[in-house]
Assembly symmetry: C2
Homo-oligomer: 431 residues x 2
């Protein structure tokens, strides 16, 4: 008998019909002879409704102890309703809050990090014959015992952390698409579903704009050598297996081996959420970088790409370009203007009409032809390149925003990823 | 500095405006130099909405572990939103679930009873300068640590139990009426507010249909010698003080003495929720009562009034009439038909077109004229009496339902309780 952890997002349980469909899926998994632990997000728009309630009485918009208390009502509702729907099928089920499930966190409200997972009650409930249904996204502060939320991607993280702590055989992440695609099917209709992808590639895809799995849950799964199965709650198709590399320090025996001949390229990710800041005419003397990046770091600005080249305007000076989330743009500009005189650079420029395109594939490590083919495809499509950064399994470029979709399709075609009739998108996206 | 526990029902926090009004009320109480602990019910229709959700996926209508988990989301929302609204006024506030507040119960879902109250976290929060806001209606099963609900009147009970455990100076119960009235102002527009009423009288009023306070919370307050202040969240008027009798075993020193000359009569309560069952022609031999009442008791039928008189139809036989909640009528009839042959009675009659009227007053103990005056008033109003039962401080009669309102007004007038222009009803009623 296998233990399967299944995570369902908010769009899968948006209404009574959705809840019943998920309950039947859980029932089918039980009928196939498995123990099942379920992690569920808040139903549909519940989180937005609760935020509206909060904004109706409070002008404070940041995270807080009370906002976490409020938002966690969302999963409390969905998990209890789902447990009732499962019981309606004649299958015993019990729901558990994050704190009951032993999801112990630090004290950062709105973005708490797991410090410990003690799922004793979940284990007991499953051993007693129940489907255990756990609230995603929430935990309990180890010191104060206050309720916390895990922030973006929190429910995926709950599922992966629980699966690891319970030593589950599989962690299934359900959403409204059939799996991980070679590109976003809404932009590239010929994108095809990947049967499997390595954790490393998935990390690069998630970090560079693929929204199907949150970066944090992939990191967690990779660290614990846990297989993820990304699939749709609207179909019974096999999805995409995310396979941890067998060289990971503490990985387990994998029943499914990574194939010897991996495909060259996994897919094309894109990201419209970044902005570019260029610091013009930085004096080329030791110590300027510490001042600039130190002050940005103090202000908790998350830099993504960093590129430096010699300034075209003046000798002995250099230009530095960085990318960062658009909503941190104002903060970054304030910080930079504050240190401008001290550092002695000439100007700061801001541009949020940019897009980031990333080609990801473990095979590109040993294949020098990939980058040539990549840049040729962009050139043929008439796409200018603003910035470039690379890792061993990724090439990313910044382009003009209005050319991004063309660029994605051009690169997708150039690497023979196109296939007809595979892409299906069923609905919205959950938390 | 006093510690005041304030309980606000669902109608007081039905929307953002209500929540803000309650927050200001809390702020005023703090500004007057008091420590404040708040107990709050679910906002407006939240509980009904959650029940609808449950009914959308489950055909089971009874209480359950999962239904309690679901319903407790209601107070979680109201308490967090109220805490935000209080913080918006610049007053530190923290919300706590029933289990965080140490409301420990038995395991009866939907109707759990408190077995222990350990409000350490509430005490700490208040000592740290916070307004502590506690979810009403909910607790935690001592054995399984599952979430439970306290059933009808649960939030009042939470407030009274917390006030007792925290040794609060006052427990204020806020609703949408100005206090305890001599009769229901919707039926008797000349009803007037009582300045104070003894716990015993309040118990009789609550047990006999007055909905302002739940019987259980009055019992709890009486046991712990706790003063209750029943008042409106829509006005700043003094409400009604419910004063525990100084002869109670473990009562405390009362700063407010019960006046020597108590008014004769406190008020007139009525109840439309009962039905009458008459067991006709019971053989007048020893043991029949044990069989009848034993079987009703086994079926958990709650009998209220029990009256026996000689049968008019046949000698050596007797008729027994009982009243019980209408929703237990079917159960009672089934039980009685099952034992009919064994006991040997002739027939069972059922009537739910009845009303119960109760006159309550501590002064009637020592005043034999009360019952004469009571029955004369009913007679003058043309009201026939079906059944009578009495306690030392109460006379109750069963009348035809369509005569009940007339009967209430007639009795209210006969005891000089009428006063013009005092009764105000602001809105609906909470949980």
């Amino acid at each position: 008998m296998s233990l399967i952890v299944q995570k369902f997002g908010g769009s899968s349980v948006a209404d009574a019909e959705g809840v019943k469909r998920v309950a039947r899926r859980i029932g089918d998994t039980r009928a196939a002879g498995n123990d099942v632990v379920v992690v569920v997000s808040a139903m549909g728009d519940t989180t937005d409704d609760l935020l509206d309630l909060a904004h109706g009485v409070s002008s404070f918009r940041g995270p807080s102890r009370e906002l976490d208390m409020l938002l966690t009502a969302g999963e409390r509702i969905s998990m209890a309703v789902l447990a009732m729907a499962v019981r309606e099928l004649g299958i015993p089920a019990q729901s558990f809050t994050g704190s009951q499930a032993g999801m112990i966190t630090d004290g950062i409200h709105g973005a708490a990090r797991l410090v410990e997972v003690n799922p004793d009650r979940i284990r007991e409930s499953v051993q007693a014959g129940n489907v255990a249904i756990v609230a995603g996204f929430q935990g309990m502060n180890r010191q104060t015992r206050d309720i916390t939320t895990l922030g973006r991607g929190g429910s995926d993280t709950t599922a992966v952390a629980l699966a690891a702590a319970l030593d589950a055989d599989v962690c299934e992440i359900y959403s409204d698409v059939d799996g991980v695609f070679t590109a976003d099917p809404r932009i590239v209709p010929t994108a095809h579903k990947l049967d499997e992808v390595s954790s490393e590639e998935m990390l690069e895809l998630a970090a560079n704009g693929a929204k199907i799995l949150h970066l944090r849950s992939v990191e967690y799964a990779r660290r614990f050598g846990l297989k993820l199965h990304v699939r749709s709650s609207f179909s019974t198709l096999e999805g995409t297996w995310v396979i941890p590399s067998p060289t990971d320090a503490d990985s387990r025996d994998l029943t499914k081996e990574i194939p010897l001949e991996q495909p060259l390229i996994s897919g094309v990710a894109h990201d419209r959420s970044q902005a570019k800041v260029t610091i013009v005419g930085v004096p080329d003397v030791p110590g300027y970088a510490a001042k600039i990046f130190g002050s940005l770091n103090d202000a908790e600005v998350n830099l993504d790409m960093i590129v430096q080249n010699v300034s075209t305007k003046s000798a002995k000076r250099t230009d530095i370009s960085v990318t960062l989330p658009q909503d941190q743009g104002d903060t970054a500009l304030q910080v930079l203007r504050r240190v401008q005189e001290e550092v002695g650079f000439e100007d700061v420029q801001y541009d949020d009409r940019i897009g980031k395109l990333s080609l990801v594939g473990a095979g590109m490590k040993s294949n020098p032809g990939v980058s040539f083919q990549f840049f040729k495809a962009l050139s043929n499509a008439g796409v200018n390149i603003d910035m470039i950064s690379t890792s061993e399994i990724r090439i990313s470029v910044i382009t003009r925003l209005d050319l991004l979709d063309d660029a994605v399709r051009a690169v997708h075609s150039a690497f023979d990823l196109d296939r007809e009739g595979e892409a299906t998108v069923y609905g919205g996206t959950g938390r």
